[in-house]
């Protein structure tokens, strides 16, 4: 996977340090930021605040989890924002008639169906994922409007029925956090420990080499889209249950936010390298910064500036380190 040249040179220790930075840079930054806020904002480490961080990070993690697998396989899914809103609408429509369980199934199924369409267009017809999913994302926004008679939003009639999904807690932590955690652990295990997981890396590393090695590359790519769709659909359903309504445009911008978190975590945009735990670190880093700034009463207009600066620093350092290890 990585290009560790085993040469006993004098710079070996330096390159070992670089390797540690490379592998765990974002994690180190996250720890540093947490330590900083722990000392500067008294309430940062309070359980209530940590719960807030986990809660805000849950849905972005869920979406970014799917995006991560896609990017490792060399595919972009820009339709997750559209899927988030559209699956929420479908879940609300179905849920109003048939209750919460049906809503959850409908929301996930909608995400899966969208993933199947994206997957067929990209894997079967070999269209470029970036443009295809840009297109399906736009289309979903419009279909969401059609489905809601042009209003673009759909409200739950019985909010209490859905309250458990949106607000419910288990051991004082919100369901959505547990759900995100479960999905992350499952996907991370499959990626890191199983044959299909290794095949995802193989496809993203070199499509041709993977095909020659006997990997069913189209099936792998197709599956990543289905997974990404399912994650976005589930997130849209939870978001709908929480807000009491779903909006067609409710997820606009989520695709780029997710890609940003994936990259900040250290997953390579070129495919073949990365991991789900990295993405969790990336999402948490951005969530912690936003939270800490709120606690310190920093004007929110500086929040995105600092986040942007950190993202810039992360990608530049990554590129420099990669350049060095490749040289």
């Amino acid at each position: 996977m990585s290009t560790n040249a085993i040469s006993p040179s004098s710079g070996q220790r330096a390159s070992a340090a670089v390797a540690v930075l490379r592998e765990h840079g974002t994690l180190l930054v996250l720890v540093a930021v947490c330590v900083f806020f722990a000392f500067s904002a008294t309430s940062f480490l309070e359980p209530a605040n940590l719960r807030v961080i986990a809660q805000t990070a849950a849905l972005p993690t869920l979406i970014a989890c799917g995006i991560t697998v896609g990017i490792i396989a060399g595919q972009f899914d820009l339709s997750v924002g559209g899927t988030f809103g559209f699956a929420g609408i479908v879940a609300a429509v179905v849920g109003n008639a048939n209750g919460m369980a049906a809503a959850i199934v409908a929301g996930i199924a909608t995400g899966v169906a969208i993933g199947v369409v994206n997957g067929v267009l990209v894997a079967r017809l070999r269209m470029q994922s970036f443009l295809v999913t840009l297109a399906t994302g736009f289309i979903l926004l419009g279909v969401g409007l059609l489905l809601t008679d042009g209003s673009g939003s759909w409200t739950i009639t019985d909010y209490d029925e859905f309250a458990p999904l949106g607000q419910g807690t288990l051991a004082t932590i919100q369901y959505r956090v547990w759900i995100a955690l479960a999905v992350v652990v499952a996907v991370a295990l499959v990626l890191a420990r199983t044959r299909p997981g290794r095949q995802v890396y193989a496809v993203g590393g070199s499509l041709l080499a993977a095909r020659i090695a006997g990997v069913r590359t189209r099936l792998v790519i197709f599956t990543t889209f289905v997974l990404t769709g399912a994650c976005a659909g589930l997130a849209g359903t939870i978001g709908m249950a929480d807000a009491g309504a779903a909006q067609s445009s409710g997820g606009v911008g989520m695709e780029f936010a997710a890609i940003t978190a994936v990259i900040v975590g250290g997953t390579s945009i070129m495919g073949g390298r990365g991991g789900v735990w990295r993405t969790v670190v990336g999402v948490l880093l951005l969530a912690v910064i936003a939270n800490g700034f709120t606690l310190l009463y920093v004007d929110p207009i500086y929040n995105s500036l600092v986040q942007g600066a950190i993202i810039l620093a992360a990608i530049t350092v990554e590129a420099r380190l990669r350049g060095r290890s490749a040289a």
Partner: protein, 331 residues
């Protein structure tokens, strides 16, 4: 794969070959055919379509996308992407409005344009010197640039004195046509000539096809890439200053998501988004085609929010046609 679009003359003139050649010609010029068909269709369907006012309106309302898309085409052909154009657009607008208030209208506008060049150069340095993938570099740069605009404005709208001549650029006309349309035409002309006729355009195309081969054949790959980002930043600033001038006010949230319609117009025109194959005339037709579709929907009283649905379908069709072209050229 071929760089130039006209298909070679068929060597043997049997029916099948000629049929294939015609099919190839249609595929190559699909967006032009679709544009012409839509133009005729709208002329028949609506009495208000083929009027000077309406056609000028289409050109004016798409001038900002058009100006940026022409420059964007150069970036894409050279194998890059610039997702920061919306942020640069907003930033340049904010700078021009702020300085128009504090210093003067002309210095404000010039500073807005200069900021676009500077931001484009920053993007270019990230991609070349920093070796960061352009998609990521410009995505991140866009976040920072928009945040900077937000810090400058403090979240408020910036509106220069309406009695000043700040809005002249956006609202005045030459020969009955607004400056923005002239600038769109100028941008298309310059970018088109640079890409199709100049040495730089050829170099950019080779870089987009295969950067390593370009380097070996003596092309200054990094310099070519750098310049495309500077041009893109400048064009985004021109669009931002124009629209700010027309609106008479600027905001850090202007042109949010602007890069997507630009990207869509380039793709719909038939320029390959992976680089090495494209033309500015294609982008111009792509911009105008999307503009006509939206105009048609307006004239037929369709809710403007459905424009996104149509845009999505158009992108899919464009990708499919592009795929057909590729298959035809490899078989």
């Amino acid at each position: 794969m071929s760089v130039t679009t006209p298909p070679a003359a068929a060597p043997s003139v049997d029916v099948a070959t000629r049929g294939r050649a015609v099919g190839r010609l249609l595929l190559d010029n699909g967006v032009l055919v679709a544009f012409a068909a839509l133009f005729v269709g709208l002329t028949i369907a609506s009495d208000n379509f083929l009027t000077k006012t309406n056609l000028l309106n289409v050109l004016e309302s798409n001038a900002d996308v058009g100006i940026v898309a022409c420059a964007f085409t150069l970036v894409v052909v050279a194998g890059g992407l610039d997702l920061s154009v919306g942020a640069v657009y907003a930033f340049a607008g904010v700078i021009s409005a702020e300085l128009a208030m504090s210093v003067g209208v002309v210095p404000g506008i010039l500073a807005g344009l200069a900021s676009g060049v500077a931001l484009g150069a920053f993007n270019g340095l990230m991609v070349t010197f920093g070796r960061v993938n352009s998609f990521i570099a410009t995505l991140a740069a866009g976040i920072v640039i928009r945040s900077l605009a937000l810090v400058i404005t403090g979240g408020f709208r910036v509106a220069p004195d309406p009695r000043s001549n700040f809005s002249d650029l956006g609202r005045d006309a030459l020969l009955g046509v607004r400056y923005s349309v002239w600038l769109f035409a100028l941008a298309a002309l310059i970018a088109g000539v640079v890409l199709a006729r100049g040495r730089f355009g050829r170099a950019a195309t080779v870089v987009g096809i295969n950067a390593a081969a370009a380097r070996l054949s003596g092309i200054a790959v990094q310099r070519v890439r750098f310049v495309t980002f500077v041009i893109s930043g400048f064009a985004a600033a021109v669009a931002g200053v124009l629209v700010t001038s027309r609106a008479g006010q600027a905001g850090a949230d202007a042109a949010t998501g602007f890069e997507l319609p630009v990207l869509a117009a380039v793709a719909i025109g038939g320029t390959s988004i992976t680089g090495g194959d494209g033309a500015v005339w294609r982008t111009v037709v792509g911009v105008l085609f999307v503009g006509l579709v939206n105009n048609g929907l307006n004239l037929l009283d369709v809710d403007t929010r459905y424009q996104q649905l149509v845009l999505g379908v158009l992108i899919l069709v464009a990708v499919a046609v592009d795929l057909g072209r590729r298959r035809a050229s490899t078989s």
